[in-house]
Structures are given as structure tokens and as C-alpha cells.
Amino acid sequence: MIATEAIPGSKSSQDELYSEAATTYGAALERLARAYEADPDIRRDLLQEIHIALWRSMEGFDHRCSLRTWIYRVAHNVGASHVARQYRTRPEALVGLEEFESLPDPQAGEAAADRTLALNRLLEMIQRLKPLDRDVILSYLEGLDAVEIGDVTGLSARNVATKIHRIKNILARFFQEGGQSHE
């Protein structure tokens, strides 16, 4: 959590909190925008939308959760709204982790040795997921633990643990990562 001595709710506090958030989590927000939008131009707009939502939200930040949790919530919520707008009439275009586990991977077994190729495959996979599952996998990839993921998403610890287990299976299958515990 980032320490701040600014007065909650004041304009200067809003600006200071936003500046700290953008400095510390700017790269994470960019990665997140990349996972929510493949088109570079639309992605730039989405990233701006996330920053504006974050700045606005700081007015209502009440320190009941950590700043990090708040930032991820706001960013995921903007991203989820973006996805919901895109897939409003065809939600079937997105799949859940449960369905993803049983989907055949055309490149299964082939180790993605090249980092760019591996990253592209990871992005493609994330961009096919339903918003909530996307929130969980992104939080996991950003290094949040199960408790933090639960706090960001609102899912129970048990549900998060199940989803993380599925994520690990899927990632192991896609990237032959297997055998590395990370909960």
C-alpha cells in the first residue's frame, strides 16, 4: 500500500493520490489495457479512460481498502465495461475458465520459446476470457495473492482458489509451465 498524508476527499489529495497511483502502477495499467483491447488505437483511448476514471475515483477513495486494491478495481471495472459494450449482443464470443480448460489448444505441446510469441499467445488467450475471469487471471499475473484478488473482484476465497487452480492448469498446458506452486 502506498502511504499518503493527503487529506481524504480534498482536491489536492485526489491529485496526489492519482499521481502516486499513475507513477507506481502506470505500467500495470498499460498491461491491463492491453489485455482488454487488441486494437492499438482503441487501446490508447481505453488507457486514457482508465486514467480519467482513476483520477475521478480518487475523490471517493475512503482508505477502506488499500490503494493498490482500489486502483485494480477501478481499472478492471473500466475494462469490463469496455468488454461488455463490445460483446453486448454476442457474449458467447467469450469463454469462461471452465470452458477454456476443456478447449483443445491447436499448439498444445509446442513450447513457446520465443518471448514475443509466448506473450502474444498469452494475450490472445486472455482476450477470449469473460470479464470476471479476465480480472482474476490479470490479477494473478500481476502478482496479487488470493486474498487480494478476492478483495478486488468480490469473489469468495474459495472461488478465487478454484479459479487460480484452473488458471495454473491452463497456463501449464499453454506454456508447459507446470509444477510451480504460486498461491
Binding site: A84, R88, E148, N159
Partner: protein, 196 residues
Amino acid sequence: MNDTPKTPVQQLWQQQPVEGTRMSVDEIRRRASRFEKRLFWRNAREYISGGIAIVLFSYFLAHAHDMLSRIAFAMLMGGMTYVLAYLYLKGGTTGAATAKAGKQCVDFFVEELERQRDLTQNLWWYLGPLAPGMVMLTVSALLAPRTPHSRWVMVATDLAIVAISYAIIRVNSRAARCLQKQIDELRSAEIQQASN
């Protein structure tokens, strides 16, 4: 913060090159203000269009030759006033958006889907209030001593309006059903969670 060692995929994700996009607070303020202005003018356009329609209806009311037509235009004016009042009362505000922004993702997403479903489902709030006036206008045209040709034009126009309205309602109903399906999925996941 998670202190467990990063897996190769987490490393791959976190070490990917980023553009390092930065926006100053002033820039954010400028863009937020531009966005609010855009919202303001979008709403203003709707109110101005509605206002023009009310002025036109009142002109037709003043120049109508029969009582039924006057009643029809009065009903259309009332219907349009209702639509504008509904727009004003139900229109989203940036304040509400700010308050929602930091909600937990499940709650936020369900609310967002419900909001979209209600918007697409409840088309009657802007089609319905104008319908009685349109029906009355058709009745007055059918009863008026005019040529059969003008009556058929009026009936054809009304039928076209009904057909277009029906098509819009069908498309939106489908979208509302899709949204409801997603809401049900999220709700059932919540119920499963609670029972576990």
C-alpha cells in the same frame, strides 16, 4: 503484496515492454472536462430536439381545424414532455460513475449489465408516451372529410412507424435477453459461492 516467487508466465507478463504512457493531472483535468462537455452537449441536443418537437406540436395544435387533431397534438406534447423529464431524471451523472468506480468487480459488473439491460428493455419510456397521440392523430385523419388518398398516406405512415418501432423493440429485446443471461450466470456463481 505477494512475496512468493514469480512463475515464468508472471515474469513474462510483468516484464513485457510498455510505452510508459503518462498524463499529467492537468491533462487529465482537461480530458475529463472535455468528456463532460461532450456529455452536456449530447444531452443538450436531445433536449433541444424535444423542445423543437413541442414547439411544432403546439403550432399544429393552434392551427388544427378539428377538436380530435387538437387533442392528438396536446397528447403528443404531453408525451414529449414526459420523455424529456424521464431523460433528465434517469440520465447518468459523472458523480454516480465516480461513486461506482471503486466497487468490487462482481457488484460493479452485475450493476453495469443490469443498467444496460434496463436501457435496452424499457424502450416504452420513449416510444410509449408518444403512441396515444399518434393513434389519436390517425383517428382524426380517418374521420376528417379529406380525400381517400390522404387517408391512405396517413395510415401507411403510421404502419411504417409501427414496423420500425417493432424492429427496434425486437433487436433490443434480443440484446436484453443476452444481458440477462450474463446476469443470471454471475448470480448463479454467487449463489454457488454462498452455498459452498
